[in-house]
């Protein structure tokens, strides 16, 4: 297959997939549609995680904190400010994540490797404890229920958010906007600066790059997107509990990213979708889904280093051979 036809085929596949994704509400049962929504939200979350993991080389064990911040801010806004527009709520939640990212980043960014991983975890545990014990504000262990507002678009009529299909389309648009923004962000000079600092921090500083500030920008941007996904999650679930901010959340996103493949921009999104699908499927069979997910994780780390997405990347080697040789890229 020559390049040209390959190129065309790629666009054909993308167009086909887009169409299928768009008509999900028409063809899927409500239960399956909920699953699809969850896949969307976690795709954005995993993409935000990978922004930090791949482009700054930082592995945070506390990324769930920002998901939780976005979620709690959204729930509080919904509950305490009636009639607050939906889009404004999402923006405020995401910006809250950004601000928290700047603040927490100030403490974490100077550290590397395991130290970075654990200090980010420490901040997450602190926030978790806060959410757990501040019952009057957060509802503690019981969590908080929220009412889902309708989407009030200017110049257009109100779009009801009672309808599952509308919720799906709304979240689809936000998630795609987030991921596309991420994609274009990676083409800009600032993203180049981020990679530059990851590649060779010392040399980058001698060229005038400020490693601390560059990484902080990336960290807060990742927090922004994580909070946005957390916000969407609460909007969709109509509930927030401490489980949105606990350790599971932080580790799940690591698993999703590694399973999907951190080397490709869409790897984490694929990983998140697969993760949710597989977990749903397994939890129908057994209640020990973590065990199976753990085995899947080990398999990917050992035999498919580039993650599941690397299966699609290797046109020449062929999928089977890649599997046997176990050398993803």
């Amino acid at each position: 297959m020559n390049f040209r036809s390959c190129f065309k085929l790629k666009y054909f596949i993308i167009a086909g997939l887009t169409l299928i994704v768009l008509i999900f509400p028409l063809i899927l049962s409500p239960f399956r549609l909920n699953l699809a929504i969850e896949m969307l939200i976690f795709s954005l979350f995993a993409t935000s995680f990978n922004l930090l993991y791949r482009y700054s080389g930082l592995l945070p064990f506390g990324h769930g904190a920002f998901f939780g911040i976005g979620g709690y801010v959204t729930a509080l806004l919904f509950n305490h400010l009636a009639h607050i527009p939906l889009l404004l709520t999402l923006s405020i939640a995401a910006i809250a994540g950004l601000v928290a990212g700047v603040f927490i980043g100030l403490f974490c960014i100077r550290l590397k490797g395991a130290y970075f991983a654990f200090i980010s975890l420490a901040f997450q545990m602190f926030l978790y404890t806060l959410a757990f014990s501040w019952r009057t504000l957060t509802g503690g262990d019981d969590g908080m229920g929220v009412t889902r507002p309708d989407l009030d678009l200017p110049f257009l009529s109100k779009i009801s958010m009672m309808d599952e299909g509308n919720i799906y389309w709304f979240i689809l648009v936000i998630v795609i906007l987030g991921i596309v923004a991420c994609y274009f962000f990676l083409e800009t000079p600032i993203a180049n600066s981020i990679v530059c600092v990851r590649e060779n921090e010392i040399r980058a500083s001698f060229l005038g790059y400020d490693p601390f500030l560059t990484k902080l920008v990336n960290f807060s941007l990742a927090s922004f997107l994580a909070a946005l996904s957390g916000s969407l999650f609460v909007f969709f679930e109509k509930f927030i509990g401490t489980s949105s901010m606990n350790l599971d959340m932080s580790l799940t996103v690591v698993l999703m990213t590694v399973i999907g493949g951190s080397g490709h921009f869409l790897g984490p999104a694929l990983g998140a979708s697969l993760y949710i699908l597989v977990q749903d499927w397994i939890s129908n069979l057994t209640d020990r889904s973590w065990l199976i997910m753990g085995i899947l994780f080990v398999f990917v780390v050992l035999y498919l280093r580039g993650g599941v997405i690397s299966l699609f990347q290797s046109e020449k080697m062929g999928k089977i051979r890649l599997l046997i040789r176990g050398r993803g890229n």
């Binding site: 274009f184 000079p189 600032i190 993203a191 530059c196 060229l207 500030l213 560059t214």
Partner: protein, 248 residues
């Protein structure tokens, strides 16, 4: 008298008690080519590390055109127009040659935090990067990853990264280390060409290079300045002969 581009004032450095530099005083004039020579362990690279902010001096101060840069961080010193090369190749290994040079150009144009343009389609940056590549004779390999270049070409890339930001003061740390005679000759020609009109401080072991390139030479030995002077003065100096040249 010319203005001092870089004034090093009584700079000392010790690492856990070991005195590496002992009250170094050097004035680098604007536009001059200054060589620093001395046996291994004399403190030449440490001096570079102190000038560029990688290490803080234990005492003493540094001025760049009158600006105190003693306690400034690396990137701030770099942005003032001081750029250095490294004794051991220190580039962005996973990036292509073009991307390597582009990193320096982006920084030069102060576009480090720019998020409203696309780097690949930015004509100004790419044009400038290509100009530097041609200047350093790297145009043919611009799309190869830096790590796959031959040693000689990596040295050229190292030099390209130094001159790309268009610095005022260039510090070269053994730019010909590991090159053969012919490559060394090429490298010197290139250095001479690209540092035209700039201030240059160079650490070098090759005496032929030093004496042909430098306007002034400082000889370091055990962290102390033995003598500073023109190549002729150095050649005649008895101290230098005893300590350094005489051993050959």
């Amino acid at each position: 008298m010319k203005t001092a581009a870089l004034k090093i004032e009584k700079v000392s450095k010790s690492f856990s008690g070991l005195q590496i530099l002992d009250r170094i005083d050097i004035d680098i004039c604007k536009g001059e080519r200054h060589a620093i020579i001395g046996p291994n362990g004399a403190g030449k690279s440490t001096l570079f590390n102190i000038i560029t902010g990688l290490h803080r001096p234990s005492s003493g101060r540094l001025f760049f055109f009158g600006n105190d840069i003693t306690r400034k961080s690396i990137h701030k010193i770099a942005r003032l127009g001081i750029c250095r090369s490294f004794q051991i190749i220190n580039v962005f290994p996973e990036m292509s040659v073009l991307e390597n040079v582009r990193n320096a150009i982006v920084s030069k144009f102060d576009r480090r935090f720019n998020w409203l343009s696309f780097l690949n389609s930015d004509e100004k940056i790419n044009k400038e990067a290509n100009r530097i590549l041609d200047l350093c004779e790297l145009g043919d390999v611009k799309n190869s990853p830096a790590s796959q270049l031959s040693y000689g070409l990596q040295r050229k890339l190292e030099l390209a990264l130094v001159i790309a930001p268009d610095p005022i003061l260039i510090l070269l740390d053994e730019p010909t280390a590991g090159l053969n005679v012919e490559e060394t000759r090429d490298a010197i020609k290139l250095i001479r060409q690209v540092t035209e009109g700039k201030t240059l401080v160079i650490i070098e072991h090759d005496m032929e290079v030093v004496f042909s390139l430098a306007d002034r030479i400082t000889v370091l030995n055990f962290g102390k300045i033995l003598v500073t002077g023109t190549p002729d003065q150095i050649r005649m100096s008895k101290e230098v002969k005893d300590a350094y040249l005489g051993r050959e």
